[in-house]
């Protein structure tokens, strides 16, 4: 058997052996980064105090307090839900990116490039500014979901010709629609009665976990877990789809039905995520790609690794957003862009 040289083996070599070590490291990193995120801030709280506060809340009276009530309140009411939301949103965006990249068979696809985030943002802005009563009582999440779905359907319709889509057309249609949606919600914001409300919305649009509360967590948690479970069950059809449309058909996949289900799922996820945290750029682009470098392209391995990696990444991004310009908070998309843009350019050149 000829031994291929290191350079020709490529990074995908032996990736299948790496799954469990990678997952173990990522789980540890998730816990560590979350703990770090909760301890850091204007009010110092030590790791031991954090564990104590959490234990005390779960089983009241189980720990002798070594913290002030103010510390307990900050950790439990603000920092912990925020840190957990960071994990959910990071994981969710990474999973959406992974699915979209398989769906359009292009590693440059992400919720932004395909206009999905802008669609969701438009839905959210309409509820924010006009109020939910004007839109027939639509909640923020539902409006964001409908916006995301509208964007995906429009992009798909524009990019396809007799049922076949080419990646180039898809990205062009997505970028064009993203601009259109941005123009529409910018107009709505400009016309808004209160300049202050508009400014808040603008900040939120760039991504912020500042509004995190416990009651915001259940819906994204359920949607994310159900979504990932469904996608893991569908890992073979996803792989087949990632190998091309004709190829997937020849492997017995009902491509049209699968695409519709994936569109609905990704729209639902993006809608829910945008409703909680605004539109955070680049996570859905960088993370899946990094996950593939670590464990190969098989979705049975990429999906869990991508989700964990996204969770850790956004946790650290949020820590940076809170601390770099403290006491001012940066919008998350500003921080992700610092990592995302060089990565995107590297990806473009590498594929050139």
């Amino acid at each position: 058997m000829g031994q291929p040289t290191a350079s020709r083996r490529g990074y995908a070599a032996r990736v299948s052996d790496r799954l469990w070590p990678v997952i173990t490291v990522l789980v540890l990193a998730t816990v560590a980064s979350t703990l770090f995120a909760v301890t850091i801030g204007a009010v110092q709280v030590g790791p031991a105090q954090v564990w104590g506060i959490v234990a005390d809340r779960l089983v009241p009276g189980s720990v002798t307090p070594v913290w002030t009530p103010a510390q307990a309140q900050i950790v439990w009411d603000y920092r912990l839900p925020r840190a957990l939301l960071a994990l959910l949103v990071g994981a969710g965006l990474a999973v959406v990116g992974t699915v979209l990249q398989a769906l359009v068979r292009n590693p440059l696809a992400d919720p932004f490039l395909l206009g999905v985030s802008s669609g969701a943002s438009l839905g959210a802005v309409l509820v924010f500014i006009l109020g939910s009563s004007v839109l027939g009582g639509l909640s923020l999440s539902v409006a964001a979901f409908l916006g995301a779905l509208l964007a995906l359907v429009l992009v798909y319709v524009l990019a396809q010709r007799s049922g076949r889509i080419t990646p180039a057309r898809l990205v062009l249609a997505g970028v064009a629609l993203a601009y259109l949606f941005q123009a529409v919600y910018s107009y709505v914001l400009q016309q808004a009665q209160s300049g202050r409300a508009a400014q808040q919305v603008l900040f939120w649009l760039m991504g912020s976990l500042g509004g995190a509360r416990w009651e915001m967590l259940p819906i994204p948690t359920v949607v994310l877990l159900a979504g990932v479970a469904y996608l893991l069950v569908q890992h073979r059809p996803l792989n087949a789809l990632g190998s091309g449309e004709e190829s997937a058909i020849s492997l017995g996949i009902n491509v049209t039905a699968l695409r519709v289900r994936l569109f609905l799922l990704t729209s639902l996820l993006v809608g829910v995520l945008v409703a909680t945290s605004g539109a955070i750029a680049f996570v859905g682009l960088i993370v899946p790609h990094t996950a593939r470098m670590l464990v190969g392209a098989d979705h049975r391995r990429v999906l869990p690794v991508s989700a964990l990696l996204g969770a850790v990444f956004l946790q650290l991004v949020d820590v940076a957003a809170r601390t770099v310009a403290a006491p001012q908070e940066l919008a998350l998309s500003i921080v992700t862009a610092v990592f995302g843009v060089p990565f995107f350019l590297w990806l473009l050149r590498r594929r050139g």
Binding site: R9, A12, A240, G244, E245, E246
Partner: protein
């Protein structure tokens, strides 16, 4: 008969591409589909794996109407090596071959040792076992074709459809692929370009022109100088010149 196309007509965007094509593939036959560029070869092949639905005519695979089979069942009977390659997502060779098991797996099924064995054997069959952990995109053209054939073998189908499998390959790799496919003993329909190679490796040939099948039969029956002149607009001249064969030690 493994595959029968009976009066199959095909349209793309309402534009007729193939008119009333009749094709039959018997058990173990290696059948070549010839014709100039744009004659409808690929389109006809696509109809046989359900990528395109006929506007008229009937396609049966092992006696059953293709339209009535589920996509999964159809994929268990027919494997395809298309021109489009799974390049963008950096799958490894092992992952590409494992895709061949897709039609045999229900959503909650695990990948079993039997699946792994079938994939390993398929890779060995095309002499590509050593490429297992390589990224598919890093392979040469000939290696890619062999891996895609291995994926088709892992599908354990009784019918193989190949769309110009020797495209972009040098002469040695062209001959290797053709000899490999011929040696598989699976019923095969392959769209091919090289008339001499088709005549040498195929049991039977169909010749297409302008969306119609204008001849079918043994290579000698189909490839007459008059017909080649009519279809391709070239003269067929018999000359003594080099012919290329694989060396026996390869």
């Amino acid at each position: 008969m493994i595959l029968i196309l009976n009066g199959v007509s095909l349209q793309i965007d309402g534009r007729p591409i193939v008119h009333g094509a009749d094709v039959e593939i018997g058990p173990g036959e290696f059948v070549g589909l010839l014709g100039p560029n744009g004659c409808g070869k690929s389109t006809l092949l696509r109809s046989a794996y359900r990528a395109l639905r006929p506007s008229a005519g009937l396609i049966t695979v092992e006696g059953d109407d293709l339209v009535r089979l589920t996509p999964r069942e159809s994929a268990r009977r027919t494997a395809v090596v298309a021109q489009e390659a799974p390049a963008e997502l950096d799958f490894t060779v092992a992952e590409v071959v494992a895709m061949g098991r897709t039609p045999h797996k229900r959503p909650l099924d695990r990948t079993t040792a039997a699946d792994e064995l079938i994939c390993a054997q398929a890779l060995e069959r095309v002499a590509a076992g050593h490429l297992r952990e390589r990224g598919f995109t890093t392979l040469s053209g000939g290696e890619k074709q062999r891996v895609l054939i291995a994926r088709a073998l892992a599908q354990r189908s009784r019918l193989l459809l190949l769309d110009e499998p020797t495209n972009h390959l040098d002469i040695r790799h062209q001959l290797e692929i053709l000899r490999l496919v011929r040696g598989l003993g699976i019923s095969t329909l392959a769209a091919l370009h090289d008339l001499n190679q088709a005549a040498e490796y195929c049991d039977r040939l169909y010749l297409m022109d302008g969306g119609r099948i204008i001849a079918g039969g043994s290579p000698a029956e189909v490839l007459t100088p008059e017909r080649i002149a009519q279809v391709y607009g070239v003269r067929a001249v018999q000359r003594t010149q080099l012919v290329f064969e694989l060396k026996e030690d390869q």
